[in-house]
């Protein structure tokens, strides 16, 4: 993953950068599989590596393939900010319980109930699905509305222009 990140930073050809971000997402999905989070890995592989790569390619087709370089070099302050922010993040993780600790707060609150009762209450073998669709049904409803709104926004911004242009083409054809 580190190698792909360095590649993304260094390479000026945006086509390769987009493909490298797809590779990065796929590696991330592999890490989720290693951590036993198959559902998350599935989403990451489908959305991160698949759809968003295609959407970025579509955007590249609209704009240009090569990155424009600005005259002044701002990499030093940028690196400084990145290092400071990274140091804070690492400092924050020092307080976190070790990964997979059974006594961690996240495994104490509602997780035991989901794990033990969901087969009785919901009757589905996949606990992730029962949490997502039933216990946290409101959240998933909200997510669906977010996606709906995103698509409606895209239609409103760039979907309508196409239709208008088509109409003018038709009227032109009628005139001729």
């Amino acid at each position: 993953m580190g190698v792909t990140v360095i590649g993304i930073i260094r390479i000026r050809d945006l086509f390769s950068v987009v493909i490298l971000t797809g590779v990065f997402s796929l590696l991330g999905a592999a890490i989720y599989v290693v951590m036993d989070a198959v559902d998350v890995a599935f989403t990451e592989a489908a959305v991160g590596a698949g759809i968003s790569t295609v959407l970025m390619l579509g955007t590249l087709a609209l704009t240009s393939r090569h990155e424009k370089t600005t005259g002044q070099d701002r990499s030093l302050p940028a690196a400084l900010i990145a290092i400071i922010a990274g140091a804070f993040l690492i400092y924050g993780t020092l307080d976190m319980p070790t990964y997979g600790d059974a006594n961690a707060p996240i495994n104490k609150h509602v997780v035991p109930r989901y794990m033990q009762e969901s087969s009785k209450e919901i009757g589905l073998p996949n606990v992730v699905t029962s949490v997502l669709a039933s216990y946290r049904g409101y959240d998933t409803l909200g997510e669906t509305f977010v996606i709906f709104t995103a698509a409606v926004g895209v239609i409103a911004i760039i979907g309508r222009g196409r239709r208008k242009r088509k109409k003018t083409d038709e009227t032109k054809g009628a005139d001729a």
């Binding site: 989403t43 759809i51 609209l62 009757g123 669709a133 409101y138 997510e143 709906f148 242009r165």
Partner: protein, 147 residues
């Protein structure tokens, strides 16, 4: 990838044949993930994305016009709303049956059975909305690039 490369991709025989061969399997896999999400990994969101990716692949290889013949704009646009309405409709149905919003226990006599029906319908709603949203967004971008 610029316009020329996009056209170049559409002329390649191998790409056309292989994608034609793959698309039915992608659609089938999307349906499997949709209906099997309660037993294995996956669910409405992933299924919607996979289902949409089949159409996006078709659009990449055969062009947006052909894709719009396969799945017209009104289908994806109404699909967007149908998915959300199906989800909220399940919630309203549980309300009318005398339970809390989105409490699927009310949908059948046996609470676990009701949960099963509710989750299946809700996941279907998510799947429809996600699939239509992805196709809509991609087609909006791609048809911009063409002109």
């Amino acid at each position: 990838m610029n316009l020329g490369e996009l056209r170049f991709m559409q002329r390649k025989v191998i790409l056309r044949v292989v994608s034609k061969f793959l698309i039915p399997f992608i659609l089938l896999f999307g349906l499997y993930v949709q209906w099997h999400g309660d037993f294995g990994p996956g669910g409405g969101f992933q299924a919607g994305v996979i289902f949409a990716s089949a159409f996006i692949l078709y659009a990449l290889i055969f062009g947006v016009e052909q894709t719009r013949k396969a799945i017209p704009a009104w289908v994806t646009r109404s699909g967007l709303a149908v998915g959300v309405l199906l989800y909220t409709g399940v919630g309203v149905a549980t309300l009318l049956l005398g339970e809390n919003f989105l409490n699927y226990n009310a949908l059948a006599h046996d609470p676990a059975h009701g949960q099963h029906i509710g989750i299946l319908l809700v996941e279907l709603g998510v799947g429809i909305t996600v699939c239509c949203a992805m196709i809509t967004i991609f087609v909006a971008f791609a048809s911009r690039a063409r002109s």
